[in-house]
Amino acid sequence: MTAASGTRPSKVVQKRVGGRQEALAGYALIAVPMLLFLVLNIGSILYAAFISVWRWNVRTGPQQFLGLDNYVNALKDPIFQSAVTNTIYYTVIWVPLTMALGLFLAVIVNQKIRGKTFFRGAFYFPSIASSAAISTIWIFILNPFGLFNEVRGVLGLNPVFSLLGYEANQDWLGDYHTAMNGVIILNAWTTSGTFMIFYLASLQAIPHEVYEAAAIDGAGAWDTFRRVTFPLLRPGHFFVATVGIIGGLQLFDQAVQIGNVDGAPANSLMTLVLYLYNAAFKRVQYGYAAAIGVVLFVIIFSATLIQRRIFEGREPTTA
């Protein structure tokens, strides 16, 4: 309080000194985190882009400038093509499936029912476990002599499955016809609770009056959902779809945990990211791997932008 009296410097000067101090303090506080962000994130992508135009020697670094050759070779590489196909197949099936499950759960759990806290907790539960734990559990359950095949035998469902062409001891994750679909179901099981949480958040953002109006107009439950709730969930759809597509295009953990670095069986689990890993650490072609990484980044980035365009028209809640 002593500074308040008599001979203190003019306000302007004080402010300027204080401002400089403040700026210095600011830079000091962000220095370490900013350095890490700059080197490990921004620096990394520039470095990856740099590596991608070289034939890269693991020990000595850049060896021969290749320009866009790594990119061209990737586009012509049949395994890369099947990695792209697999990744897109996974994303195109998994995202809508999990969105539908999540929305369905959210709508049910959002009603006035007893124990909804318990159910929300239960549905979200698989999302907290590690991908390695979940994959191991499902490899166990879906193995030829696992719980799934046993239970369908006991329930007398085998005739149905044999109509579809599956034997009693079908190796779901070991047969290239079914492995990717197995991963899709596995991940839908894990993630439906997460998507439910996202949808709950946007369900509760829908104003009360809208439903009152629908009720006055005599709309039934299904009509209300189809014509009122579903369209009003647009921001929610956008968010969940974005998160889902970004996650789907980066499928790696389950693919490698089930199919190892070659995406076995028969490349059926070879995803883009897995191929990137494979190229870098199995075939040790750094330049080529970096090029795949850049392509992946471009795909993810454009997917996000395209989606933003599509949803932009009527998106009331974003700035």
């Binding site: 101090q21 303090a25 600011g26 506080l29 985190p33 890490l36 962000f37 700059l38 080197v39 490990l40 994130n41 921004i42 990394s44 990856a48 369905f104 959002n110 009603q111 806290t117 318990f118 907790g121 239960a122 549905f123 979200y124 698989p126 999302s127 476990a129 590690s130 991908s131 390695a132 734990a133 191991t136 559990i137 499902w138 490899i139 166990f140 359950i141 002599f145 239970v151 099981w189 993630t191 949480i197 958040a201 946007s202 829908i206 009360h208 439903y211 439950a221 956008f238 968010f239 998160v243 970004i246 996650g247 953990d253 945990q257 990484g293 996000t304 932008l305 933003r308 809640t317 700035a319």
Partner: protein, 339 residues
């Protein structure tokens, strides 16, 4: 999973005080700089408005009863679908190998042999991997809390040239997929000498030391703290550092708790970076060990010890979840979803 641990974003009817809810912190929306394509900002769009009303109960008596029954049918069925695989895991871990392929709920004979094998006889054993996972998760949590709160405070409260640009840069890192960083980071950490011995664990800590999500969550929380408190401290002659440490940091403890849970869980469960950066078997974390035992470790179908390892890998997170459920939900809302 009690009623006290009500998930946050689906705001209940009650008006209990909120410890911390980034979703409801209005400054997030005010401060969201334009249309940056980040998950964190997209979240904001999707999160609930501050006042969320319950949905009107459907009208019509018989229809209502029928629908409620149907709802319970689905709810219970789906909940069973969620729990059965985990229950089967626990049951199997107490079985013998021969018994593990049988459809019996009670292990016969009941044995802890698989646990003994997994915990002490494997190489590396589960106790060792548990320790490795724990060290890495704790270290990453600490660095995120420390670096996240200093940076979050600076971005929220201190004025300096370039602040907005630098913050945008931080948010933009959310758009960079880890896979693109994989090779450069592998090369950089090796060049730094972090590719050998126990330092491999340090390389993981370095990569995960600070995430944009931590900075973002803490910054948003600091923005919600009234300026008067800080100004009072400043008038009393406290430096920026003292104000931060003595006044702001204690007030931000709910946000710090959220970051702690988010980072601990994420790192404990993390698979990608350990898979890329750890070569020594002795340094495997639990998720890495689980995968490697099956892929290269030669006991791909020795189910009981594998299931015991799964239980050990999941237990700490389950305990955290039961006590801090709402922070988990905040965490996913802020960071999106794993692939």
């Amino acid at each position: 999973m009690t009623d006290e641990n009500e998930n946050r974003p689906q705001q209940p009817e009650g008006d209990q005080p909120r410890a911390f809810d980034p979703a409801l912190a209005s400054p997030i929306i005010d401060a969201a700089p334009g249309r940056v394509g980040t998950r964190a900002l997209a979240t904001v769009a999707a999160l609930p408005a501050p006042v969320a009303q319950p949905i009107v109960a459907p009208v019509g008596d018989t229809g209502h009863v029928w629908r409620t029954r149907l709802a319970y049918f689905f709810l219970i069925g789906y909940a069973l679908l969620m729990f059965v695989p985990f229950a089967w895991t626990v049951i199997t871990s107490f079985k013998t190998l021969e018994d593990s392929v049988r459809l019996t709920l009670i292990p016969q004979p009941f044995t802890t042999a698989a646990w003994d094998y997994a915990l002490f006889q494997l190489h590396p054993n589960v106790a060792q991997m548990f320790f490795n996972s724990f060290i890495v998760a704790i270290a990453v949590t600490l660095t995120n809390v420390v670096l996240g709160s200093v940076a979050g405070y600076a971005f929220a409260r201190l004025r300096f040239p370039g602040r907005n640009f630098l913050f945008l840069l931080v948010l933009a890192t959310l758009m960079i997929p880890d896979q693109l960083r994989m090779l450069p980071i592998y090369i950089i950490t090796n060049a730094l000498g972090l590719g050998k011995g126990p330092l491999q664990l340090a390389s993981i800590v370095l990569v995960l030391a600070i995430s944009a999500t931590s900075v973002f969550l803490l910054r948003q929380y600091f923005l919600t703290i009234p300026k008067d408190l800080e100004e009072a401290a400043r008038i009393d002659g406290a430096s920026h550092w003292t104000t931060f440490l003595r006044v702001m940091l204690p007030l931000a403890s709910p946000a710090i708790a959220a970051v702690t849970i988010l980072q601990f869980q994420g790192t404990w469960n993390g698979f990608f970076w350990p898979f890329v950066l750890i070569r020594d078997q002795a340094l495997w974390t639990l998720p890495l060990g689980l995968t490697q035992f099956r892929l290269v470790g030669g006991f791909g179908t020795n189910w009981p010890p594998l299931m015991a390892t799964v239980v050990m890998a999941t237990l700490p997170i389950l305990v955290l979840y039961m006590f801090f459920q709402r922070y988990f939900v905040e965490g996913i809302a802020a960071s999106g979803v794993k692939g």
